[in-house]
């Protein structure tokens, strides 16, 4: 019995605890991301934002969650029941799943796998299914149009993101698909400096990939009401909402890991470079990129659909392809 406990139950419990250590802060971060968005946009528009529930409105996410929990679940007539309920769960689960490989310190990630970067890319490329499934299963015009737009947009921008990932992997060299190795290779010089154009392109692609402003055409209020999750209510809607913000945090964390040195300290002096400081740096950098997401939403007007597609296929794709060739040329040519 004790043997069974030691070989099966205890390792399983340990894995569960490690997962909780990462997932609980992520979910809390997602909850406060919704508050941060309202506060940042309010600040950009000279308003106060939510300030009634708790001091500075810090309890607002909890109030919102309670409200959504007690709302009625509505199933539209003619909707495909199973797919309709599956879609929000898929969106949220995928947004959480990807955190498994994120290196938080130099010796901690839930799963430190060889092909972590590919895993991350694979999981984020699955995110499009939640959108398509919800749009189709709602059996309604606006969600369907929103889902079509969103799917086309996500597939288009994934291509240039893939090429940027290849650039980073080439720069790291052997073992370049492991996220820990990528961060360690940035000791001394963050990739955002030599690969600055790609850093910008990656960030813009991340905006498009998460359907955020200025690329939020899938939910463009003026023409599509709310896009693919129009027919959802209650917790299903909450799951979509949380999934979207979790994806923003994930993309921010991915940008940080690939270009801004992940958990590494910006200046390695005194105690700042210690291992226990690394999660703090990681969170600070991720928060900064997430803030830029909100900042962009508050300042930039929405793109037109054809402009969006043109930018993805005719500007970003050739640029990132050129950068892959240039990087491999420089690395082979100078024998780096």
């Amino acid at each position: 019995m004790i043997d069974l406990f030691l070989t099966v139950v205890w390792p399983a419990l340990k894995i569960l605890l490690t997962i909780l250590v990462v997932i609980v802060p992520v979910i809390l971060g997602v909850a406060y991301m919704t508050l941060a968005e309202r506060k940042v946009i309010a600040a950009a528009q000279f308003r106060h934002g939510p300030n009634v529930v708790g001091p500075f409105g810090v309890l607002q996410p909890w109030a919102d969650a309670l409200k959504l929990m007690f709302k009625e679940v509505i199933l539209p007539a003619g909707a495909n029941k199973v797919v309709f309920f599956l879609a929000p769960m898929l969106t949220f689960a995928l947004a959480m799943l990807a955190w498994a490989v994120m290196p938080i310190t130099e010796n901690f990630a839930i799963a430190d796998i060889n092909l972590g970067l590919l895993y991350l890319f694979a999981i984020s490329s699955l995110g499009v299914y939640g959108v398509i499934m919800s749009g189709w299963a709602s059996n309604s015009k606006y969600p369907f149009l929103g889902a079509l737009r969103s799917a086309a947009q996500m597939v288009s921008y994934e291509v240039s993101m893939g090429l940027i990932i290849i650039t980073v992997v080439i720069t790291v060299g052997a073992g370049g698909f492991n996220l820990g190795n990528i961060v360690e290779a940035q000791r001394g010089l963050w990739f955002a400096i030599p690969h600055f154009p790609m850093f910008v392109v990656f960030f813009i692609s991340a905006l498009a990939e998460t359907n955020r402003a200025p690329f939020d055409l899938p939910e463009g209020e003026s023409e599509l009401v709310a896009g693919y999750f129009l027919e959802y209510s209650s917790m299903q809607f909450a799951l979509f909402f949380l999934g979207e913000y979790a994806n923003i945090l994930l993309m921010s964390a991915m940008t940080v890991t690939l270009f801004l040195g992940g958990y590494l300290a910006p200046f390695d002096v005194w105690f700042l470079g210690d291992v226990w400081m690394q999660p703090i740096w990681f969170v600070l950098k991720t928060s900064f990129i997430a803030f830029v997401f909100l900042w962009v939403r508050a300042t930039v007007p929405r793109y037109r659909y054809d402009q969006l597609m043109r930018l993805g296929w005719k500007v970003f794709l050739p640029l990132s392809l050129f950068w892959v060739v240039l990087t491999s040329g420089v690395i082979v040519g100078f024998g780096l």
């Binding site: 890319f121 490329s125 699955l126 398509i132 043109r310």
Partner: protein
């Protein structure tokens, strides 16, 4: 203990793969069929991971599930294939379908009975990874040395397919106004705006 768990996961994923593959054919709703196909792809990649072929697994998810199946789903969703239309051509194309099925079955049997699948074949044949090379590197070595020509030929076939698809869908229509972005950017203030002093009661004329 670990082997038992790995075995159980294998059987779980294998069962899901087979069940969803059956559902791809058996499902009456075309969109459900595609969704089951996606599930089959995904569980296949899980099986690859269990076998130690992580690279192939990830590429399967990225390429097939993340891109190809999305387009599949797109097309099937747009077509609105009803149940009656689904079984329309069964009589006409049934024979061809059965023939293709038999051909694939024969090919599979031939492949499975070859040396590579026998019990006494060393594991190297299935898993190219060695102590100092991980799967990705080993795969790259084999692909770019031993099978270089075949690999390049696959690329050429894909290129031809791509050009064919583009020429099939490319069409120039007359009388359609097209936006020329360089032309729009080239426009100067002088060409676009004219300031006139309009006398009251006369108009520009």
């Amino acid at each position: 203990m670990a082997e038992i768990i790995t075995g159980l996961t294998f059987y779980l994923f294998a069962a899901v793969t087979i069940a969803s593959a059956v559902m791809v054919v058996g499902s009456r709703n075309a969109v459900h069929s595609v969704l089951f196909l996606i599930l089959a792809f995904f569980t296949c990649s899980a099986l690859f991971v269990l076998r130690g072929a992580e690279f192939v697994a990830m590429i399967l998810v990225i390429v097939y599930v993340g891109a190809v199946a999305v387009l599949f789903l797109f097309v099937v969703m747009m077509l609105h294939v009803g149940e009656n239309r689904l079984f329309q051509g069964v009589k006409r194309f049934g024979v061809v379908g059965v023939l293709v099925g038999v051909a694939v079955a024969v090919e599979l049997i031939i492949v499975i009975t070859t040396r590579a699948f026998r019990q006494d074949t060393p594991a190297v044949a299935a898993n190219p990874a060695t102590a100092d090379l991980n799967v990705t590197e080993a795969l790259g070595r084999i692909l770019y040395t031993d099978y270089f020509l075949l690999f390049q030929m696959c690329g050429l076939v894909l290129l031809v397919a791509m050009i064919g698809a583009i020429t099939l869908t490319l069409r120039q229509r007359d009388g359609v106004k097209k936006q020329s972005i360089p032309q729009q950017i080239e426009r100067k203030r002088d060409e676009a705006i004219a300031l006139r002093k309009v006398e009251s009661g006369k108009g520009i004329g």
